[in-house]
């Protein structure tokens, strides 16, 4: 059990690489290395339960990430190079909600003796507790505030992360047997060791706002961002007055500004000393803040403040951008004689935060008063004391904190078992990031569907979550945009390859090429995994790196044929339908598995992967008719309809020589706007019934 959980990530990667698939850029970018490609594909098939399962395997608290993840995966998504990235976070939210994440109950058994203490209950602490419980350790969380969650509770405003979500996850941890001590500030690590804890994980976060270091900073009416958000999140309503200024350009500044809007201030301005392009806050946040009426003043910095007549008089100076600093951002330089005075009721400073580590912990600190740790083992200068989360990195994202918590759990496990730390040799083979221009040109551009947001007018009235969930069809359509990086075709049997150039000629994306030695190469970086070359290869030398797709048709077909044989309803009609277009959107869901007499549906992951043999197999097993229902022009891949028709013609030619009518094989377009698929299908069934009857009569006459 231990090793299973611990080597989870390594195992997963090995498992997938058995199918030769390469790790896609989204997975590489994810701090938790979640199998994004896999769950997005499952959502595209309408399989939310399975998608949620994949998500839960890689993420202890998917419901939290579904709301607040800053989705570095989307920045790495290669669809960026074509149009816009897949909306991965929103799809996760969809899977979490529709997959019934809140119903999931977790249990854990205590199999280890060594107690572990966690100081702080932010995302890193909670994740560490989750994995330590899975590994079987007794875990106690010490939390200084009255409620668990750290920044999830006191930092992130409710409109971005509803408190119920955090509550659910906390309840789940309690159910797993995590001991919780709230309102308990740990003042000494020695004390914890005295209490019998064998290892300690320090994850106290970075709650201390940085000071601007200017005159009048301590005047009444000046409040720091972290404190302000904490007060708001704990349900207090700080009196802000009418006009509020927020200093800073990060996510905390955005949160503070948008929280201020929701508290009913009439005007909120953000003062930022650089320009919009340098703003560290996520672009969505900035966009949404502006929609909500937050004003932004760029290239401005306050230099002096004074409380006068019940208002705050602020002297600002204008800036210009100078040379780039070490971080690559251009350094703001004050413009001489550009000072001007302005007035606000309240000024919120949000220029950064740092951890506040008690000296009594006797931990070695580094830059920005963060705890110094070994990046691989997360060990501090004290034996048995580990640290992670914002306390180590400085303010970072929730997902990074979760990853750090997970890493800590495994490191603590190693430490307690006197094992040499396991270095995660992550995926030897990853995908290079760039698509070639000619592939990009051939990839169909499909608009990214954003989940609906509440209108700025409604959402600024209260702290309700502003983002809605996709509906089923939108989620499926969005997920289908995935380019399936790293799952593409490869020449599995180079010795079989006759270099016939079929793959090169049939590929809609012009991916295969002849190298200078006359060998066909299918670069994994470019392949879109449509499967056309796999079905067309006359030597059967090509497979998809995700071999499941073809096996899937065989298995589903045999399953349908077996069930059909049992049910004995006549005439038997087999329908090969695109799983993406069919069940995903429910177009033909009413047809699912003999909801209509005699019709058995075989879901295929795109009809382009269907081979003539599959159709013949259906006839061999007694089918009277076969139809193929694809998505026509709606298909997210190119040329699929053309290839389906090619194979259908091949089969029609063949069965007509056997004495079967060609019309027994029919194609339908699931997504045709004007055609009613159910009606077309009724006609087809009727015709097959007629043909069937005719042949029976013929037999009778003969005998």
């Amino acid at each position: 059990m231990n090793n299973r959980v611990k080597n989870y990530q390594v195992n997963r990667i090995r498992e997938t690489s058995q199918g030769h698939s390469l790790i896609p850029p989204c997975q590489v970018a994810c701090p938790l290395h979640m199998e994004i490609g896999k769950y997005v594909d499952l959502v595209a098939q309408g399989k939310v339960l399975e998608a949620l399962q994949v998500i839960r395997e890689g993420n202890p608290f998917p419901s939290i990430c579904a709301y607040v993840c800053t989705h570095p995966c989307e920045d790495a998504c290669r669809r960026n190079q074509v149009d816009k990235p897949i909306s991965i976070r929103a799809l996760k939210r969809f899977a979490v909600e529709f997959g019934g994440d809140r119903m999931i109950e977790l249990e854990a058994e205590t199999t280890q003796d060594e107690k572990v203490a966690l100081v702080g209950s932010g995302p890193a602490g909670l994740a560490c507790a989750y994995y330590l419980r899975k590994l079987g350790y007794p875990v106690t969380i010490f939390e200084a505030y009255s409620e668990l969650g750290g920044m999830l509770r006191v930092g992130i405003p409710r409109y971005r992360l509803p408190r119920e979500v955090v509550d659910t996850e906390v309840q789940r941890l309690i159910h797993m047997g995590v001991e919780i001590k709230t309102n308990t500030r740990v003042i000494s690590i020695d004390l914890l060791f005295d209490m019998g804890y064998k290892a300690v994980f320090i994850t106290v976060g970075a709650h201390q706002s940085l000071r601007m270091g200017i005159e009048g900073e301590d005047s009444p009416g000046v409040i720091d961002g972290a404190t302000f958000l904490r007060e708001v999140n704990l349900g207090l309503k700080p009196a802000l007055g009418k006009e509020v200024a927020v200093v800073g350009g990060g996510n905390v500044a955005m949160d503070a500004a948008r929280a201020a809007v929701r508290l009913g201030t009439s005007k909120v301005s953000i003062l930022y000393r650089r320009s919009r392009t340098e703003m560290p806050a996520s672009p969505d946040e900035i966009e949404q803040a502006m929609e909500e009426g937050v004003e932004t003043m760029f290239l401005v910095a306050p230099i002096k403040m004074k409380r006068e007549n019940g208002r705050l008089s602020v002297t600002c100076v204008r800036m210009e951008l100078g040379e780039p600093d070490t971080g690559g951002r251009r350094r703001p330089v004050p413009i001489e004689d550009s000072e001007y005075d302005t007035e606000f009721d309240t000024l919120i400073t949000a220029i950064g935060q740092a951890p506040q580590i008690s000296e009594d912990f006797r931990l070695r600190l580094g830059r920005g008063s963060t705890i110094k740790v070994d990046p691989v083992t997360l060990t501090t200068n004290r034996t048995g004391v580990f640290a992670g989360g914002d306390a180590v990195t400085g303010p970072a994202t929730v997902t990074q904190a979760l990853a750090s918590g997970r890493q800590a759990a495994f490191c603590i496990d190693d430490y307690l078992h006197h094992r040499y730390p396991l270095v995660d040799k992550e995926a030897e083979e990853t995908l290079s990031g760039e698509l070639s221009p000619k592939t990009i040109e051939m990839i169909r551009k499909i608009e990214r569907l954003e989940p609906p947001l509440l209108s700025p007018e409604t959402r600024t009235k209260e702290f309700k979550p502003i983002e809605q969930i996709y509906n089923w069809e939108a989620a499926v359509d969005e997920a289908r945009r995935c380019l399936r990086c790293g799952m593409g075709a490869e020449i599995m049997f180079q010795d079989k390859c006759a270099t016939c150039l079929t793959c090169l000629r049939v590929c809609p994306y012009h991916v295969p090429y002849l190298d200078e030695w006359g060998t066909i190469q299918i670069p994994a970086d470019e392949c879109q995994a449509c499967g056309i070359c796999v079905a067309e290869c006359p030597a059967r030398a090509i497979i998809l790196r995700k071999p499941y797709d073809r096996r899937h048709i065989d298995e589903e077909l045999e399953h349908a044929l077996r069930s059909a044989a049992e049910s004995k309803s006549k005439p038997l009609i087999i329908g090969f339908c695109c799983q993406y277009g069919l069940f995903g959107t429910g177009t033909l869901a009413s047809l699912w598995r003999e909801s209509r007499a005699g019709i058995w549906i075989v879901p295929v992951l795109c009809v382009a992967k269907l081979e003539g043999e599959h159709i013949l197999r259906a006839f061999e097993m007694g089918a009277e008719g076969v139809f193929i229902a694809g998505c026509g022009e709606q298909c997210s891949r190119e040329n699929t309809a053309f290839w389906v028709l090619q194979r259908v013609e091949e089969v029609r030619r063949t069965i007509s020589q056997i004495g079967l009518e060609q019309e027994r094989v029919q194609t339908f377009n699931l997504r045709a706007a004007d055609d009613d698929i159910t009606e077309a299908l009724d006609n087809f069934t009727e015709r097959i019934g007629g043909l069937c009857l005719a042949s029976v009569i013929e037999e009778e006459v003969k005998s």
Partner: protein, 227 residues
């Protein structure tokens, strides 16, 4: 490359009719490339034959399938040794050469052709093959600008074009290019039109004895003191 075309299902059914256990034998070279008898086609034919058997309710055949890298060399056929003992016939989807070599290699078993070997040619594009060479054994392409009138002219004349050419097309088939017009245009482009102005006497095909054999190796004594 040799281009072949699979025989009709009806014909195949007819030739295998007397035999119970049939090995469908594909070839991984030319017929794979031209989509007539590679592994994919063998599998498809296998399925089709099974459907035919089920539908005609007279199931007597027992099919198996295998594809070798090349049927026209004995060495590639060694792997079949065990398999052929278990079957009554081999339906070879190799070209005519393959069928004969398989028959030669396994003298005790009937070998049947599953494809019609059509010509030597090239893939014009995916799914379209054109004849290009007649293997006449006396290549004149140097004089005809790399375009073979023996294969590409319906009449195979050496001094064309004939009077039947019209708008660059052949009188025998309006969709077919006249080979001699192509030759003329290409010679013009190469500034070698003088080659059109010569007369090529008819060739005497009787001087080529059939079947032909080419011996590459020199006739030297083996062994002795020379080694």
């Amino acid at each position: 490359m040799i281009v072949a075309e699979q025989k009709s299902l009806e014909e195949i059914k007819r030739v295998i009719a007397p035999y119970e256990k049939v090995l469908l034998l594909g070839c991984g070279t030319c017929v794979t490339v031209c989509g007539a008898g590679g592994e994919r086609e063998v599998a498809f034919l296998h399925s089709a034959l099974r459907v035919a058997q089920v539908r005609s309710h007279d199931g007597i055949h027992n099919f198996s399938e295998y594809t070798v890298k090349r049927q026209c060399d004995f060495e590639f056929l060694d792997v079949l040794e065990d398999k052929v003992n278990e079957v009554d016939t081999i339906l070879s989807l190799g070209c005519g050469i393959g069928v004969q070599v398989v028959a030669d290699r396994f003298p005790d078993i009937p070998v049947l052709p599953g494809v019609n070997t059509s010509f030597m040619g090239m893939a014009k594009e995916w799914g379209v093959w054109d004849e290009r060479c007649a293997a006449c054994g006396d290549c004149r392409l140097a004089e005809t600008a790399g375009i073979c009138p023996i294969t590409r002219c319906t009449k195979a004349i050496l001094n064309g074009p004939c009077a039947g050419t019209k708008n660059g097309k052949c009188e025998a088939n309006k969709d077919m290019e006249c080979a001699w017009i192509l030759i003329y245009k290409r010679l013009e482009r190469l500034q070698q039109l003088e080659k059109m102005r010569r007369y090529y006497p008819p060739r005497n095909f009787r001087v080529i004895p059939r079947p032909r054999r080419i011996v590459m190796r020199a006739d030297v004594e083996s062994g002795g003191d020379n080694g």
